[in-house]
Amino acid sequence: MALLSFLEAIREALRQEMRRDPDVWVVGEDVGRKGGVFGVTQGLYEEFGEQRVQDSPLTESAIVGVGIGAALYGTRPVCEIQFADFIFPAFNQIISEAAKMRYRSNSDWSVPMVIRAPYGGGVRGGLYHSQSVEHYFTSTPGLKVVVPSTPYDAKGLLISAIRDPDPVLFFEHKGLYRAVREEVPDEPYTVPIGKAAVRREGSDITVISYGKTLHFCLEAAEELAREGYEALVLDLRTLLPLDREAIVEAARRTGKVLIVHEANKTHGIGAEVASIIAEECLFDLDAPIRRLCGPDIPAMPFAAPMEQFYMLSPEKCLAAMRELAQF
C-alpha cells in the first residue's frame, strides 16, 4: 500500500501495464520528455523510450486514428487528449470508426484502445479548458465511458480499460489530480467497468453522481447527517454502460433521488439516469427526480465569480439534498 494522489494512481496504472505488456504504449501531445501538461506521464519516457511514449503532432484526429490502426494490428495504445475540450477534432474517428469497427466486422477486427482526457472546471481554464464532455459519447454503443472519482478506482479502472478488448474513454477530473489521496495497493488490480459503487449508505435520500462532484455530495452528506437525514450516495464510475441494477436499487431504497454532475443539465448523464428510474421504479418514488448540474450555457467562464457560479460545491449539494430530504 502507498498513499497516492489521483494523478499518481493513474501514472502507476500506466507504468505497471506497460511493464506487464510490451504492446501497451502511450501517445499524445507532450506526453514524452515533458511528461504531459499535468505530469501524468512523467517518467514513462525515460523508462520506456520514445517509441512507447510518443509525442504526437498537434493533431487529435490523427492521435485517435493512428491509435485505431495500431489497435487493429494488435497493440494497445493509450491515447492522451491534452484537454477533454480538444477531443472534438477526433470525434469522427471515435464515433464513426472506433465505436463501429467491431460491430461492422462482426468481431473480425476490434479496437482495444484507451483514450484518456483530463476534464472539468474550477481551474480558471475558461470556456475551453474546463468542459465536461462525457455526454457526447455515452449515446454511442460500441464505446465504453469511464469516470473514476478516487485514486483506488482510477488505478483499477484504468488497468481494466487498458485490458478491455473494446475502446474505452477514460475521463479524469483535473480538480482531483492532486486534491485526493488514498492508500492504493502496490500491485496491479482491476476494478470492473460497468459497476457503480455505493459510497455511503443512507435511507432518506439517494444521491447519484460521479467524478469530482461525488466528493461534494459525500461532504454534504456528512453535514446533512448532522441535520438528521442519511443520504445514500452512489458513484456511477462507468457512464457507458450504466449500471442499471445499481441505479434502480439505490433509487428504490429511499424513493427520493437527486442526480448531480458538473456538466450542464439538459441532455446530460442525469437525463438517462432519471429516465431509467422513471421506467423501472416510478411507483417507488416519493418525490420528483431532481437534477443538480451545471447551468445550460455553452461552457464555463474564466472570471472567478462566473466560474464559481458555474461550479457546484458541497454547499450547493447540501442545499439540494436538504430540500429533497424535507420534501
Partner: protein, 334 residues
C-alpha cells in the same frame, strides 16, 4: 505510349504469366462490376458503386503488394485491389447481396465496404479518408513489433482534401513509415470536378510539403502504375518512408447507382471517357504487342464469366442473417 511489351515487362521484373494474371484480375474486376450493375438494375441488389475505369490503376497498384503479409486499407472503389488481395468473387457478391456469410460485415455494411482479417484487409467505413490514419497506425504498430509490413491505403482526389489526409501524410512522413498512399484521381467527386476540389490541380504536388515523394502516374497504364507502386513499396521496405501516388484515372460510370452523371457531364466528355477505356486499351495494345494472344484472352474471358456466374448464383442463394443478428458484436461477446 504502349502499355505492354516484353521488354517493358522485363524492366519491371514481371513474367508474362504475371502480366496475364494482372489482365485476369482487371477483367474480373470489370465483369464483376458490370454484373453488379445488372443486379442493381434488375432490383436484386439496392446499390452499386463502380470501379469501371480504375481497373488498371487498382490491379497495377495491388499487384506490388504481398498478399497475406502486407496490409490493405482500401476505399469503396477498390474492387480490383481486394480481388488481388485475395477476396473471391463469391465473397464480394455476398457483400453486394448483404448475406450473412459476407466476410466483410455479415450484411451489416453497404456493398464495397470490404473487410477480412485473414487477408489483412481492414474494415472500412463510409466517411471518406479516415482509413488513411488507420493505415498509418498499422505501420506504427508493425514497426513496433519489428514486422516487415507495408500498408496500402487509397482514396479519391476529392477525399484527399479532408483534414485526415493532411494529418496522415504528416504523421507517416515524420516517422518514415511504410505506407503507400494511393489516390485515384478520376477527376470527379460525385459531380464536383477536380478544379473545384483540388487547389493547384495536383494531388501528387502535395507530397513535397511533407518531404516525401509525390508521383503522378497514368492510371490507365497498368504497368506504369505497377512500376510506380513497386518502387514506393521498395522505398517503404528500405525504411525510407511513405510515398504519395496520384493515379490519373477515368470514371466510366455515374458515381454510383444513385447518381446520373449526364446531369453534369456533357455527352462529348462521356464519349471521350469511353474511348479511353483502360481495359480496352490494355487488351488492344497487349494483343498488338503479342504480350497476350487472342486465344489467351478468350480463355480468360470464359474463365471470368464462369466465375462471375457461379459467384452470383451461389451468393444470391445464401441466407440473410436473422434480424436479431443486428444486436450482435457491439462489444466482445464473453
Amino acid at each position: 505510349m504502349i502499355t505492354g511489351t516484353p521488354s517493358r515487362l522485363a524492366e519491371l521484373g514481371l513474367t508474362r504469366e504475371q502480366a496475364l494474371e494482372m489482365y485476369y484480375y482487371m477483367l474480373l474486376t470489370r465483369r464483376m462490376d458490370e454484373r453488379m450493375w445488372l443486379l442493381q438494375r434488375s432490383g436484386r441488389i439496392p446499390f452499386v458503386i463502380s470501379a469501371q475505369g480504375a481497373e488498371t490503376a487498382q490491379v497495377g497498384a495491388a499487384y506490388a503488394f504481398r498478399r497475406g503479409q502486407d496490409y490493405f486499407a482500401p476505399y469503396y472503389r477498390d474492387v480490383g485491389v481486394v480481388l488481388v488481395a485475395g477476396m473471391t468473387p463469391r465473397e464480394i457478391l455476398l457483400g453486394a447481396f448483404g448475406r450473412q456469410a459476407d466476410p466483410s460485415s455479415g450484411g451489416k455494411q453497404m456493398p464495397n465496404h470490404w473487410s477480412k482479417r485473414s487477408l489483412n484487409i481492414i474494415s472500412g467505413s463510409s466517411p471518406v479518408t479516415t482509413q488513411l490514419l488507420h493505415a498509418v497506425g498499422v505501420a506504427v504498430a508493425a514497426r513496433m513489433r519489428g514486422d516487415d509490413v507495408v500498408v496500402y491505403t487509397a482514396c479519391g482526389e476529392g477525399s484527399s482534401n479532408q483534414g485526415d489526409f493532411h494529418e496522415a501524410l504528416n504523421w507517416a512522413a515524420l516517422h518514415r513509415l511504410p505506407v503507400v498512399f494511393f489516390v485515384q484521381n478520376n477527376q470527379f467527386a460525385i459531380s464536383v470536378p477536380l478544379c473545384k476540389q483540388v487547389a493547384g490541380g495536383s494531388v501528387a504536388a502535395r507530397a513535397h510539403g511533407y518531404g516525401i515523394p509525390g508521383v503522378q502516374v497514368d492510371g490507365t497504364d497498368v504497368l506504369a502504375v505497377y512500376g510506380a507502386v513497386r518502387e514506393a513499396h521498395q522505398r517503404a521496405r528500405r525504411g525510407e518512408g511513405p510515398t504519395l501516388i496520384e493515379a490519373r484515372c477515368i470514371r466510366l460510370t455515374s458515381h454510383s447507382s444513385d447518381d446520373d452523371h449526364r446531369r453534369y457531364r456533357p455527352p462529348e466528355e462521356l464519349e471521350a471517357a469511353r474511348a479511353a477505356d483502360p481495359l480496352i486499351r490494355t487488351r488492344t495494345e497487349w494483343l498488338a504487342t503479342g504480350l497476350m494472344t487472342e486465344a489467351e484472352e478468350q480463355q480468360l474471358e470464359q474463365r471470368v464469366a464462369a466465375e462471375v456466374d457461379d459467384a452470383t448464383e451461389w451468393a444470391e442463394r445464401q441466407p440473410y442473417a436473422p434480424p436479431e443478428f443486428a444486436l450482435r458484436h457491439v462489444y466482445e461477446e464473453g
